[in-house]
Subunit: 275 residues, 4 copies
């Protein structure tokens, strides 16, 4: 535990870690709430900028706001790198990469017009602030959800594989039946239509016109309506198996910033550092 | 229990409470049925008034009907306030507010044209009359439904949060791929499209035209088709856990008008008054 | 059991009952298969007649076919009335009414043009012929399905009631936000749109154009996507409770023609006659 | 076991069988991966050929690619026939027929223009290569899925039968209400619309215009939204019953090529030959 030795520099780092990564203290909670508001505002600013009428009138203001938030998030990113004892592990973690991608597009927009739209990646950061409200409970639920989804993954891959082969064959059949004059101009487009129909989305930009085409379309729709039961059945069955409630703390590892540790864990499950 | 002292005024109030809030006696049932019909008629009148051809011909008649029902419901609202011993508690309860909102728009329409359309809020009042038919059973079912939904709320919030971030990122990607000439004129509009597609609604007012856009749309659709399994799985699992049947009476509290008391309850769970 | 006394007339009636109502003997099976084919052919003929190009060319032939099948089904209907000992009970049963409705439209078309389209009611008769193939099993499954649906009926009525109130309020909100120029010309039409959206059908004949309208539409879609989980959860939970397999025979009551008797039943559960 | 006698010819055949049908050895895995890539490339080539712009430019190259892959798959098909000891049993198995259908269209295209589109049938072959990745597990999952679907088949047939009769009756009702001027030109087309609506696909190419038609459409939509719960409930209930994990090997029978044998099986369940 040499890293935690009692110097004032270490104390200062531990304190900052508490504020930035945790939501247990008053300062930590305040930091998370401010961050949440900043992310929301910056995402809204990016969205507004894409509306041409708004850009024409308030373009300059939005430009300044954009750089202001980018500066803020850049400082935050650097602070996060400093307070964790294993910066590299944080940098390559999921949220580390998202944090980086949340500031890069603004700098990129200097050389590439339109790149600032990528700033909406920031919205993924909102997921982190679930910790602020009723923290442990939501994290536990997310873990339950994830584990149920993981358990049903192989079944779902088999299912998606089957559905994919089905849409390829059905789409091609429609291409042969309807032909280009009714919008089914190529096999890829017909497969696109088959997916639109099978998933019950049904845009209507392409729709069968011949009697045979409509008959096959009817079949595909009923098929799609029926097989939606399969993934649902898989997840439902998995979901009702997940019974034991697995308590989780909201504490983040002071070394690498990883979250989701069990409430009785003493060491980080990602980097092995003491919590 | 001083409020229930045996004066004739109190007796009269208890009797009216029975009629207005309960459906156990003959008068109480009759009151509820008449109320149900009046609400239905008044909602239909409001709807018809919005159809321009009908308004042109029967506008005046509908105007009179509107004021007639508003007068009726105003009297009913005042009566409800009088017969409960704690009027304030009733006034700020869910149905108390709905009852008030059901009469306000007519008065508001005197100063604000078109405000009477808000009268359709009355349709929410219909929910109260479930008590008339096989009362306890339906109330019990509603409670079961509500408790299952409440138990799955944290999981569903996590899920909605994830879906929201997903639509923001996917919508922006489509905005960059398709651009304004294919209808994706701004990020908010593209997010709107992403939600339309992910939820399998698929209006078709905006639809991808480029090959890359259609490929991404295909992915979003299959994703939407797959993840619909998640909320269903959550509710199903919760639903099958709710086993014990919780008997509930249709009796409303004579003090604050709250409903949904357990059949063995002696005191109101909302205001503590004796039932 | 005087009705079953051993006269030749009774024997002939019992034999015909076996042929027409049962599918256990060779003749009974043959009768059901012929009936199935006849129903299918007649329904197809009615459908073809509605296609104007086909009617123009083969109208007369289809007219003759129509009368031929109507004559056939009329004879069959009379035969059914004769072979059951309690004709009135058969006549007012579900399938008795369907059988009657399957022949009436042709006669009605003599005075009312277009009435023959109602002949498609015959397709409901197809449900009866499930007995021909692996009979008892399918009947048992249908009973299981029906009992699961019946058990979840009160919950589903509460749910539909809530959804109805929701669409009325949301539809009116859209009527106020979007107005007539965007297709939301009246409250009933806006409610129609709200149902189209909430159920994820999404025709796209009416679609919100204003930013506020699209925002509210987004909300409705996510809501619809989420609450589809509720009926599914209800039925799933009910379905997994239905465990005991309830064996059922395909024998129809010789007195009133009622079906779905338990395999150990000795008397008809509808009219009390001996099976 | 005379077929397995120790001659060098038999040894060579056993080795080739290992490579082509199994994925346990290094060579077997390599063969499956190469096959997977070849199938994918050839399906993509067929799809690209259907896009007119691409065909105009690279038509000749795609033509050569098509014949190259057909030659490859023909050799593979013959090899498969040789290495199994009961070629006929392989030839009439599901994957045997798919393998044949994957090469026939190219030869057919010599006499019938456009027949090469049928080559997309090759995509079904992709299902076989699930064995390459985490083989036994996926096969087990597929078996679980299939057995759950098989168990719920009778219930689903009853359900589809009911839905079919419903769409026929509702479609005809809409035909009578809306009539040809609103797009409901014939009963078959109206039934097509009813299926589009009931399955919540909702193209919008045909949409009700009259008030009565929209009211009925609203009913159909709510119905469709409600009854989607039925197949889901069926499969969910079946899915949660399938508990025992049935271990399965990826070994294919050396005599007929059948797969999906239990891990403790010593003889092929299809042809009885020793594994």
């Amino acid at each position: 535990m040499e890293q935690n030795k009692d110097t004032s520099k270490q104390n200062w780092r531990v304190y900052l870690h508490e504020v930035i990564f945790e939501a247990d203290t008053y300062e930590g909670k305040a930091f998370d709430v401010i961050l949440l508001v900043a992310i929301l505002l910056s995402v809204i600013a990016v969205m507004l900028e894409s509306v041409s009428e708004i850009k024409a009138e308030y373009g300059e203001t939005l430009y300044i706001i954009e750089w202001f938030f980018t500066a803020l998030f850049t400082i935050e990113y650097i602070a996060r790198l400093i307070v964790v004892t294993k910066p590299w592990r944080y940098a390559i973690s999921f949220f580390g990469i998202v944090d980086l991608l949340s500031i890069l597009p603004t700098f990129l927009s200097l050389v590439l017009v339109g790149a600032q739209s990528l700033l909406v990646i920031r919205s993924i950061r909102l997921l982190r602030v679930f910790r602020v409200f009723k923290l442990a409970r939501f994290l536990g639920e997310a873990t339950q959800l994830t584990s149920a989804l993981k358990a049903s993954r192989p079944k779902i891959i088999v299912f998606i594989g089957g559905v994919f082969a089905m849409t390829v064959v059905l789409g091609t059949a429609m291409y042969l039946i309807e032909g280009g004059e009714n919008g089914f101009t190529s096999i890829p487009k017909s497969i696109y239509w088959a997916v639109v129909t099978l998933t019950t989305v049904g845009y209507g930009d392409i729709a069968p016109q011949t009697v045979l085409g409509q008959a096959l379309a009817t079949l595909i729709m009923i098929l799609g309506y029926g097989i939606i039961a399969v993934p649902t059945g898989i997840v439902s069955a998995e979901m009702s198996k997940v019974k034991e409630y697995h308590p989780i703390t909201t504490q983040a590892c002071p070394h690498c910033g990883a979250e989701g540790h069990d409430s009785d864990a003493a060491y980080c499950k990602k980097c092995g550092g003491r919590l």
